[in-house]
């Protein structure tokens, strides 16, 4: 088991390293004359050169990268080119907002998907067909359209929730819940649609397995067999889809944060992207990649727990 965890951990660190390296090289080499863009087209060549040397952009790319990497390992991701703020501080202060959205949506999606998928897989018939139809629609409609719909219905017309703004959970739980409910719902719908399809399919397969009949023949109730045995066996593929969905949610959160004016990662990403503030963009890439690697690690461990063959091989 330790070797399994260690191996996954190492491959996660390697993935993080590769992603950040590729991102760094593309971001810093792909942008042409960065200093010129910052100081503007009307500035003199001397001003451009000065800016470049201030930001260290006149050094060879490899040296810049090495410098960035060694600082990054100590937690220093540099400063924004435009407001001079520490990137690490800017990213980490917004991380909690984005994570509470994405984790909330993932948890809700997981719970709702399991319940709905079991319902569809066990009942079949019209229940199953209805679930599949709604699933296709939920999958097809872009998440931000759903978010727009929710805002105009529940916030602007019915006024049940505030349309914009954010209250930290540490300030008031009620206030926090009021500001994140709609965004989480908007994010989770597409996720639920995809995960339900997967769990439903693997449940139907798992229900056909011989051991289901044998366990029932030993006196276990159908529900006990479904929730303890069938669901655990169907869990592997479902977790894999949930991991993919989680990554998608990190992207979806950018737009949803914009719609609900939440101070999350998405907000600084959009701002930094518009300005071409490369250190901040790089910081967002590092944070996102780190989250993805951690989530994949957790999913791998969960897979090992679910399926002894993975763990023991």
């Amino acid at each position: 088991m330790y070797r399994f965890v260690l191996r996954r951990l190492l491959s996660g660190v390697l993935l993080l390293f590769v992603i950040t390296t590729v991102a760094y090289l593309l971001l810093y080499a792909g942008g042409g004359d960065i200093a010129r863009r910052i100081v503007g087209p009307t500035a003199s060549d001397a001003q451009v050169a000065l800016k470049a040397s201030q930001l260290g952009l006149d050094r060879p790319l490899v040296v810049q990268y090495w410098d960035w990497l060694t600082s990054a390992l100590t937690g220093d991701l540099g400063r924004s080119w435009f407001n001079g703020q520490l990137v690490s501080a800017g990213v980490s202060s917004r991380l909690s907002v984005t994570l509470s959205l994405v984790l909330g949506a993932t948890i809700i999606a997981a719970v709702v998907s399991v319940v709905v998928a079991v319902w569809a897989a066990v009942r079949r018939g019209w229940v199953d067909r209805a679930v599949q139809l709604v699933g296709v629609l939920g999958f097809a409609i872009p998440g931000f359209l759903i978010a727009l719909g929710l805002v105009s219905l529940f916030a602007l017309n019915l006024k049940w929730f505030k349309a914009t703004g954010y209250v930290p959970i540490t300030t008031s739980f009620g206030g926090w819940a009021g500001t994140v409910t709609l965004p989480i719902v908007a994010l989770s719908i597409g996720c639920i649609a995809a995960v339900v399809q997967q769990i439903r399919g693997s449940l139907i397969d798992a229900l056909r397995q011989d051991y289901v009949r044998t366990l029932r023949a030993r006196g276990l109730s159908f529900n006990r067999v479904v929730y303890k045995h069938v669901l655990r066996n169907a869990g592997g593929p479902a977790l894999a889809v949930l991991a993919v969905q989680f990554i998608g949610l990190l992207g979806g959160a950018v737009i949803v944060e914009q719609i609900f004016a939440l101070p999350g990662l998405g907000q600084i990403t959009v701002a930094a992207t518009g300005q071409g503030d490369i250190p901040v963009v790089m910081g967002v890439v590092v944070a996102t990649a780190a989250i993805v690697v951690i989530v994949n690690l957790i999913i791998d461990l969960a897979q090992g727990w679910l399926n002894p063959k993975v763990r023991l091989s």
């Binding site: 993935l15 590769v18 992603i19 971001l27 942008g31 296709v136 629609l137 097809a140 409609i141 872009p142 931000f144 359209l145 727009l148 719909g149 105009s152 602007l156 995809a194 056909r208 397995q209 011989d210 051991y211 009949r213 044998t214 366990l215 029932r216 023949a217 030993r218 006196g219 276990l220 159908f222 006990r224 303890k228 045995h229 655990r232 066996n233 990554i247 998608g248 949610l249 990190l250 992207g251 950018v254 737009i255 914009q258 990403t269 959009v270 930094a272 992207t273 518009g274 300005q275 071409g276 490369i278 963009v281 890439v285 996102t288 990649a289 993805v292 679910l306 399926n307 002894p308 063959k309």
Partner: protein, 605 residues
């Protein structure tokens, strides 16, 4: 972001997918809608009443109607005209992303799948890397470098989407690469390019078209998302930038956001539904083969049934020998019928008018070829018929209660404790996610209400009893770590763990090695003796019957054809089917070699 491609139906692309789609209602509706949107966009210069970019201060946020059919936006531009022209850019952007994804994904997939080697592992690794970050974040990062060009963004997104095609093509090519006809083509000297073109591209064409519809939808959505964030090119009208404008002015003019949202939503839904419809049609094209085979089997069964009726359906009943008539009657099945509901609404009867009596302490063989209804009879006694199956008539009396009438809850009380079951295939009947020990203990704790420690002690004792050499080790093992013979012993231990009165063994030795078969049969006999159980032994093997059973019931096409004490059946078989089965076992000495033969001779002489 994209589901794993469906398995490739070989040769399915031969019949025109398009023509079959015309018979699919959602497919037709989706296609018509998409064609209309595409036409409206292409013909925008003719249809539009205004120039899409002409701003007018007087017309800012003008209401619908007065000169502007759908009103005007925050710069006073005509919404309908912009919607039409925006279609050109939004669709072209999505098509660009699709084209890039197709070219990259299909080329890399073909090369990786066909040539394998380092290219294979490198591109698989690369696709994994590309799927590791959310597409939106990559696009935003890229936007920071390349600027607000929609075309560049869509090309980058095309690269990000290419794994969707790579995986599809790669899976198909590796499946096809070693097919005989590809080998034959190679041997006959065709060049790689021609083989790929002729044999491999035809296989991936249909699934790739389906994937394309999905990818187009995703590209339209993400492009609209980018523009909605205000990061797009402000000089060209797109649905996303209209959404942005509408959202900013949502308080002043609530309908402004509605039109682009409606168009984006409808196009995305239509593309997804179209993809689903195409998938349905592809799967259906493979369907008829399966269906006709099933139909043929059903017809054959019906014919056989008819023949049985002509021969006279009444079963041959051999009288009991006085000495064997001791045990109380444990189970009495009368006039049992089992049927399956078919998707087309009809029902297929698989068991008809079956009578079966099992006494305490008796091993009752239920014999017949596969499809004779013997397993269906066994499952209906347990009330564990596969999905779609139901008991259509008759009664199953067990200890004064008709099992056919019990509720599911009452039946759960009977299973395991009073009636137990040993399956045919040992490995698939253990849950691979739990240890052998926990699977043994769980039902005991439920049925007997004992503590975990007691259950553990009992489980270890049972494992020792069924002849497992190192019970502790097997207890802690997972099913895939033990042999088939061991697994069958575990299942037997589980079946007798709550000391049932009736044991139903469904071909308990069929899946085992010949040497293990004899041991398992001996074990069954010993346990039956010890616990004084009634046993129903479902088998197709008269050797096993001769070895173990007191009485036999022979089934054919869902009916009982002959029943009686084993000695009487072996000596005076009357029904031709029984004789045929007996004849088969005398010719073929498979189950227990010479031992069986000798014993059979002892019985028959």
């Amino acid at each position: 972001m994209i589901e794993t491609p469906l398995a490739v139906p070989a040769g399915a692309a031969k019949v025109s997918l398009f023509r079959r789609l015309l018979t699919h209602p959602t497919g037709v509706v989706s296609m018509v809608l998409l064609v209309l949107v595409a036409l409206a966009s292409v013909l925008a210069p003719l249809l539009a009443t205004h120039d899409p970019n002409t701003a007018s201060v007087q017309q800012v946020l003008a209401k619908a109607g007065s000169g502007h059919i759908l009103g005007a936006d925050s710069a006073g531009r005509d919404v309908l005209s912009r919607l039409l022209f925006a279609g050109q850019f939004s669709l072209a952007g999505a098509l660009l992303a699709l084209a890039v994804a197709l070219v990259l994904g299909v080329t890399a997939g073909l090369a990786a799948g066909y040539y394998g080697g380092w290219f294979d592992s490198a591109s698989s690794w690369l696709t994994g890397l590309m799927m590791a970050l959310p597409g939106m974040v990559v696009l935003l990062a890229a936007r920071a470098v390349v600027g607000p060009s929609m075309w560049l963004s869509m090309m980058i997104f095309g690269v990000l989407l290419s794994p969707a095609f790579f995986r599809l093509v790669y899976a198909s090519v590796t499946a096809v690469r070693n097919e005989l006809y590809v080998d034959a083509a190679r041997v006959s000297g065709l060049s790689d390019v021609r083989i790929i073109g002729r044999h491999i591209l035809t296989v991936v064409r249909a699934p790739a078209i389906i994937q394309s519809a999905m990818v187009l939808g995703i590209a339209i959505a993400i492009q609209a998302g980018l523009e909605f964030l205000g990061l797009g090119d402000r000089n060209i009208p797109t649905w996303g930038s209209m959404l942005n404008d509408g959202f900013i002015n949502i308080f002043k003019s609530p309908t402004l956001v509605l039109w682009p949202a409606l168009v984006i939503g409808l196009v995305c839904i239509a593309l997804t539904l179209l993809a689903n419809a195409m998938r349905d049609e592809l799967e259906r094209s493979r369907g008829p083969v399966k269906k006709s085979r099933k139909a043929a089997a059903a017809e054959a069964a019906a014919d056989a049934e008819g023949a049985a009726d002509k021969r006279g359906a009444a079963a041959v009943v051999h009288a009991d020998e006085p000495s064997e008539d001791d045990g109380e009657i444990l189970l009495e099945v009368t006039d049992l019928g089992v049927a399956y509901d078919q998707p087309d609404g009809s029902t297929t009867h698989v068991v008809n008018h079956v009578n079966l009596t099992v006494r305490r302490g008796e091993v009752h063989g239920l014999v017949g070829e596969s499809g004779s209804g013997k397993s269906q009879t066994a499952f209906s006694i347990l009330r564990l018929l596969p999905q779609g199956g139901r008991i259509t008539g008759g009664s199953i009396f067990f200890e004064g209660k008709d099992l056919a009438q019990l509720s599911e809850k009452e039946m759960t009380q009977v299973r395991g404790k009073r009636i137990a079951y040993i399956p045919q295939e040992p490995m698939s009947n253990l849950d691979s996610a739990f240890t052998v020990g926990s699977q043994l203990m769980e039902p005991m704790r439920v049925c007997l209400g004992i503590s975990k420690a007691q259950a553990r002690k009992r489980a270890l004792a049972l494992l020792a009893r069924v002849g497992i050499p190192n019970p502790e080790r097997t207890f802690d093992a997972y099913p895939h770590q033990i042999s088939g013979g061991m697994a069958q012993r575990v299942l037997i231990a589980g079946a007798v763990s709550c000391e049932p009165d009736l044991l139903i063994a469904d071909e308990p030795t069929t899946a085992l090695d010949v040497t293990v078969q004899a041991e398992v049969l001996n074990l069954l006999r010993e346990l039956q003796d010890e616990l004084n159980m009634g046993v129903i032994l479902v088998t197709h093997n008269f050797g096993v019957v001769a070895d173990l059973c007191d009485r036999v019931t022979v089934m054919q096409t869902g009916r009982v054809v002959e029943t009686g004490p084993v000695r009487s059946i072996f000596n005076h078989a009357q029904h031709p089917y029984t004789r045929q089965l007996l004849g088969a076992i005398l010719e073929d000495t498979a189950p227990r070699g010479q031992y069986t033969l000798k014993e059979l001779k002892g019985v028959t002489s």
